[in-house]
Every structure is written in C-alpha cells, then in structure tokens.
Symmetry: C2
Amino acid sequence: MTVLILTCRQDVTADLVVAELRELGVPLVRFDPADLPDRAALSTEYDRGDFTGYLSTGGRLVSIQGLRSIWVRRPGRPAAHAANASEWLTAECGQALYGMLYATTARWMNHPGAAEPARHKPFQLRVAQRSGFAVPSTLVTTYPRAAHDFAVRCADIVVKSASGPPSVDPPVSLPTTRIGPDTDFSDVAAGATLLQRYVPKRADIRLICVGQEVFAARKTAAAGQVDGRFGCHGHRWEAVEAPAGILHSVHTYMALTGLAYGAFDFAEDADGVWWFLECNQGGQFGFVELETGQPIAAAIASWLAAPHTVRPPHGASPVDGPEDRPAVGRPRLRREQPH
Amino acid sequence: MTVLILTCRQDVTADLVVAELRELGVPLVRFDPADLPDRAALSTEYDRGDFTGYLSTGGRLVSIQGLRSIWVRRPGRPAAHAANASEWLTAECGQALYGMLYATTARWMNHPGAAEPARHKPFQLRVAQRSGFAVPSTLVTTYPRAAHDFAVRCADIVVKSASGPPSVDPPVSLPTTRIGPDTDFSDVAAGATLLQRYVPKRADIRLICVGQEVFAARKTAAAGQVDGRFGCHGHRWEAVEAPAGILHSVHTYMALTGLAYGAFDFAEDADGVWWFLECNQGGQFGFVELETGQPIAAAIASWLAAPHTVRPPHGASPVDGPEDRPAVGRPRLRREQPH
C-alpha cells in the first residue's frame, strides 16, 4: 500500500515527511501533476464494473488500487510543464488525474472537497466561533460606512487580506496593518475588506493539528508588533502545551470542516487568552519542527501510513463498512436555536 | 426565509425557477457574483460568538441568517464586472462572498464541496459502477499503446473530451467521435485521452434528478448517430418512465456524491439497456422541460423552498440536530473485498 504525495519539486518541507516514511518502510510516490503528460503518465480503465488505474512517474509505476493515502501538499497545475501547455490541456489532465484519484478509496490529507470551503477566512471565523475559540470581532465588508463604524466601535483595528497578496512579479507582501478610526475608508467600496479588532499580543501561536495529534509553538512578540510574519526581533519559536479548552476546540474545528491537517494561528494576549486568527488547511509546519524539534513530519508520515481503517468522525452510516472513509467536505454547523 | 440564486444575467433557464418561486410566494434574490463590488455589496460581522451578514443587490437587501437555500446555477466569477477587475479582486471578493455563504446553514444545490469531485468524468464513471449502472468499457490514458490495445479489444470506440471544448474565441465544438482500431494513437502521449466502447444506440436519454424527484426524457437517435448534441434529425425529446433499477441507481449515485441536482446522460441500446455516459452536476434541464412539459423547474423551486429540515442521507451524527445539513463533498465509496 503506497502513499502518494502530490507536490512540486521545490517543496523541501515534503522531504521531511518522505524521510519519515522511508524510516517506516512505507512505499511512497512523490508526484507533481505539472509533469503530466510529458514526464509522467497515467491510465485508468473501467470494464464490467471493475476499475484499474496506474500512475507512472520518475521510473515508478503505482497501482491506484494500492493507494493507502494521498497527501495534497503543493501540487503544480496539471500539465503546467508540458511542451504544449494550455488551459485546455490542464483541464483534460486534471480531469484524468483527479477523476482517477477521487475514485480510489485512499485517505486524503486534505480532500479537495473539504479544503475548498476551509480555505475561506470568513468561513473559518464562523467555524472557530462554533468550535468555542475566542474570535476577535471582525468585519468583512464593501460598505465604507460599516467599516468606519466598526473602526470607531473597536477604536483599534487591523486590516488584512482574506486571500493573501496578489500574484504579481516582482512579489509583494501585504502585512496585517494596524489602523485607527480616523482612516479614510472610501476605498472599501472598491473591494471587500477584512477588518479585525486589534489584539495586543504578547506572543504568536502556531498550532499544527495532524489527525488527532496537536503540536503548538509560541513566539514572544516584540512590543507593538502586529504581523508575526514580518520583522526579525530575536525571539524564536518554542514548544508550548495547548490548554485543554483549545485542544477541545481544535478537534471540534477539524471535525466540523472534515480536515485531516490544519495550521492554526492565534494571538496570545496579556491574559494568556489564545485568540483565533485563522486556520490554513495547507499551512507550513517545517519552521515549527526545525525550531522546536516537535515531530510533526513523523506525525504526518504516521497518519499517511496508517492502515485503511478510519471511522467516520460523526458516526458511521448504516451502509458503511469499517473501512469506509469519513464523509467530509461540508461543515456540520448547526442551526442556532432562536433566543 | 429567502432563496438565493447565484447566476449570471443571461441565464434564461433560471427564469423558469424564478417564476415558480414567485408562484409559491417564496422570497428570492437573484445575484451574480460578478457584480461585486460595483453593483452589489456585502457585509459580514463576527462579534462575541455571533455572526450577521447582508448581501445587497438590485435594490434588495437580504440577511444571511434568513437564507433558506442557495442555488448555484451559472454564477459569474466574483468581481468580473468590476471597473478595476483583477485576479486579486476576484480572490478577495470570492473569499468574502463564499466565505459568508459557507458559514450559513442554508441548503445548497449543489454545494461546491460536493460539486468539485462530481465534475470529474473518471470519478463519475466509478460512482456509476458502484451505483449499479451499466457503464461502457472506458479508458482514460496517456499511453498510445494502451489506447491502441483498447481500440483493438473493443473494435468500435468513441473519443471524447473529459473537460469539454477549449474556451477559445471563436468557440469550437468537440463532438464525441467514432474511431476504429486502425487509428494513429501516437498523439495520446500529448494529453490524457478518454476512449469509450461505442454503444450503438436507438435513443438518447437525459434524466434529471432533483432531490428525490426524477424526470427522464428520451429522444430517438438517427441511424449511426454518435453525439446526440449535434445534428438535427427530426426527433424530439419525449417524457419516458425510468425503469426501477435505474431509479435505484440514480438515488445511490446522488447519495454517494452528495449532490442535490444531477443531469444524467444515457445511451439506450437495441435491448433497451440504458448505458451511463455521464452525470453533469450543473447540466441543463430547460430543453427537457420545454419539449416534454415535465415540471422540472417546479421541482427545483420546491426543493429550494422546502423548510430547513433535511436528514443526512447516511444517518445522522449523534451530535447533529434534526435541522442539520447532510455531510457531503466526499463520496462514500466502499473499499471492495478482495476476491
């Protein structure tokens, strides 16, 4: 039973997990969908109710029936490296590859059907509320007046991008920026804007959840620092124990979203409260492992290598066998009771 | 409780459903995400565990809390009509809109997390096999030799696109084309190719499933006709009763994929067998309704208008209340037993 890792060649973080899988003696294939069809090949056949499939890359041939799990790390766009690359070739090769992979019974970290909603920050904030996290007051709006009123009410806010910086060359950074109520909000009408109450923080927290395992790291913040990703200030990431309430909320969040992997960011305030900022379903863990020594790559490898017997997180269907995969992709938010 | 219809202005098929909803007296808002942020506005606020949201379009203001259901018909790309349109503006407005909508408890037809895998033809073929449909032998491959061997084995095959025709200007059509084993398959190496055993058909079948309701239509095929979409030959669509076995398979297919709407295509052979060709999760129904008089738009309107009490298709989770939504987005294919 083979582990399939979908990622690009430049992804050095995946190397950590590859090394752990080799240590475990688990067969694996690392594959970049961008290599289709020039440097990789596939074939799927449907005949009399049967289904067989093969993927060939780097001199390895893997049977789709023998797939244990699929790790969606940093895959390139299908056929992006092809000599005759085009949008249509990408669409055709994407159909062939993902259509084949969806049809397997392999476990996914993360299934694209679960990852799609989970990528949306406004959705993350709502799931975080339902999971019991402390969530800073947040406004996502195209109304300058609403933005102004929110800024006045909170007095001290930050503005940040929901989707990240634009893909431009040369690359630009778009750090979370602190602003006040006297800001001119008229440009809010030109694009949806995410505003959030500023949380004065004494530390940044990055928490990685891998299946049921949780690894948390803490980095002391410089005075007045807003965006922990920018500005070197001499502090380093250190392993930290996640409080029991946080652990409970993390597991609830993962169950509600159907994710197998999540990278949570929190701001720790002066009272020690961890304020939920976001959960990146594909967020980095390498820097946490390197600085704290926590065995995150080993946990990912163990999850990927685990035998094919996962119970659905919310109770099995009567028609499901024990080897069925959990149903994910759609959150299980409950309709609130009227007050 | 309002129905939200996500579609572009040119979508006349949606008009049929709008008229039915008006007939039912159900409030609705029709909205094209491309209109953000110039001709439509939104605002979502998260405060102390609460979540409120509004969407404003065409002079209507709808509360997100009051959303009954969301119909994803033919939505434009977010902010595509904006004066300052860009990839980044699309990403930011998409985050704001879909992040807000995913956070609601509305029912979806279809939820994007379920639609994403269901769009892949090779996945459809596997689900169809597991649902008990007759599926013609099919090969999806980048191996010229495999394509050649398949053609020899089947003797008579068709080639078709998995993703549809390329988006080019002027538009091109890409009809399913019948080929023989003497074809030169060397170009298969340049792009994944879908080959299928040719089913000599006496009729095309289009079957629309809306929740639990099924509408089937049949059109007699001209002698030797391959692709029912091309070539006018005097036959019209007529309502037809779907056999009990087909109904059972349709409901299984919908449950496995988590879809609320699906447009199935079959080829009916000389023995009356309906061969599964594909299930388009967003396929057209308007021509079937217009030619056969079947009340499909009314069925869609009823589904969208139904009260907010849907049971998960495969048994409720212990933590779910009766008003929870079904968990979808990931198929429930079972691992097969070894022979």
